[in-house]
Symmetry: C2
Subunit: 338 residues, 2 copies
């Protein structure tokens, strides 16, 4: 990377913390946000790494997130815990709800954590991996602002509505996936626009519902769901489960915080956790070992497991620190002291 | 339909029952299988309708299903019920486990039903719709024999691994989807083979891992997951959740029953149910109504809801009876009396 800087994980963590607290975030929020952003940066997921701090601070300046909000926890049902983020960032709410979710899943076999009324900007995989690190199987989803048309439709309705899943592999990195139910992430189209490149057929439509390869027209139009009507159905499921089921908004009812302070960037997130021990009793260890046969069979025919690149990056970062653009470093330094 | 016959739903039901009991199925199994097959036939899902009785009987003759098996129910954990099908057909196990699942979901908010050691041939939507008819949100999945290569791979490993979901819409037909995580159902390739037609690029590979449009080569090779690596990841999730998590086999460890009686067609199924009332308390009605905004927005831009055609067929069948090939009718009549 030209014009890049390499710093240690500790330095980056301190920088993230400084950016957030200097811009009004409480220490507890700054800590939770830093943990998520640093997990992504460490794994070389630049799109969800330190870069996100800029949008996070901007959102705070636009009153799109309460930087001091204290989450409120409700023991909703035997296997359901709800955390109201009270317009704060979702990450602290996840951390506060996590112990209850873990206890309920271990005791009852399956349990759900619903986060409401939260500003959400992070990748989901750090959350499902926080649960698989506890030996649980986890599934998470969240809607976002309307960018994606339903299959057969012409206008933005769904968010990019990611689904993430993590399966514990004792002694190994977990089996984890985390993907948008749109064909690509919105940032991919943005990157093509910046580079002046056209986008492939099948990613998006213009604002009249015609297929387009122009990234500008695509950003003004609608993205397409992955896998046609199947991805569209999954995206609908995300809207329903992380919206009405938990008493929160549909994706198209939310919008990014803006300078006019009229955006409503708050929505919900649903995380489901399952305990192999509770499902299997003493057989759990054997069946978890048996799952390895599947992973070995995937790798054995030359296919990759999702997140493998991320885990390789993690190892590198722990040894070498993290490398990212000097211009981003400068911008963060300015945000930490302006 | 030329060479077709139209009979009433009652006649078809009686015929199904006769085919099954005449070929050794206990009355309880015959009733459960008939309910599923008739639901599909009524909705004009011919692939999962009366046609399936032939394979069902054939499997019984090959010792691939215990026609008399009594399911065993285990109250596994507060929110988990397990039903061992004991090598019987999955459908009776679902019916036996359903009341426990409903009670657990209503009381605890979220619950799971695991069916083990079952012969499974049916569509999943009748099961998730049986739960949404009770006001629950339901998600179901099951692996099947190895037909599908992982994205980036070359050999069959995953089943077609369907996922089904149903959301209750008070006073209306539910929002339901049920799809294979392969690009198409295996039957589609079989239909192309019978018709002597080539299949589209992107459906399958031959047995050397090369893309093929020859249905014969495709059936001998591997089908592809829908949506590339995303569908492949979902298929992996189905294998894990309806396999090792519930103490059952991976798809590639099973195989259809055969005349040599060496097939092992028994595997698992996982059904998760969630109660809007338990998640939302008094707010449930309002939030379920709010979900209608999403459906109206999908329909409002000219897109369809999944299963709409099926619900239209259901109305027709209830008035007109069902129409299906005379040759199938003759075959079923012969099976019912041979």
């Amino acid at each position: 990377m030209s014009d890049a800087i390499t710093i240690s994980l500790q330095e980056a963590e301190a920088l993230s913390n400084k950016v957030l607290t200097h811009n009004g975030f409480s220490q507890t929020h700054a800590d939770a946000i830093t943990r998520s952003v640093m997990a992504a940066q460490r794994d070389e997921c630049h799109s969800h790494g330190l870069y996100r701090l800029i949008g996070c601070v901007q959102t705070a300046l636009n009153d799109g997130v309460d930087t001091q909000a204290e989450p409120t926890i409700t023991d909703q049902a035997t296997s359901v815990v709800k955390v109201n983020a009270n317009k704060g960032c979702s990450l602290l709410s996840f951390e506060r709800g996590k112990p209850y979710l873990i206890e309920k899943a271990r005791h009852n076999g399956i349990a759900a954590l619903a986060i409401n009324n939260s500003f959400h900007f992070s990748a989901l995989w750090p959350e499902v991996e926080a649960l698989s690190a506890e030996g649980l199987v986890a599934l998470a989803m969240t809607p976002s602002h309307a960018f994606v048309a339903p299959a057969g439709g012409t206008s933005p309705l769904f968010g990019t509505n990611p689904i993430a899943f993590s399966w514990p592999r004792p002694g190994k990195t977990p089996y984890t996936f985390d993907f948008a139910t749109s064909v690509v992430a919105r940032g991919e189209i943005e990157l093509h626009r910046r580079a002046g490149k056209s986008i492939p057929e099948g990613w998006a439509m213009d604002d009249e519902g015609n297929s387009t390869t122009d990234p500008v027209a695509a950003l003004a139009g609608a993205m397409l769901p992955f896998g046609s009507y199947k991805g569209s159905a999954l995206s609908t499921m995300v809207e329903l489960l992380a919206g009405p089921l938990i008493g929160d908004l549909l994706g198209h009812e939310t919008q990014a915080a803006n300078a006019e302070k009229t955006g409503k960037p708050f929505h919900g997130e649903l995380i489901i956790a399952m305990s192999p021990e509770a499902f299997l009793g003493k057989g759990a260890e054997g069946h978890l070992n048996h799952a390895e046969v599947l992973f070995e069979s995937i790798l054995g025919q030359g296919a990759r497991l999702p997140s493998q690149r991320r885990f390789e990056a993690r190892e590198r970062s722990q040894v070498n620190g993290i490398t990212f653009p000097q211009v981003l470093y400068d911008e963060l330094k300015a945000l930490a002291s302006s």
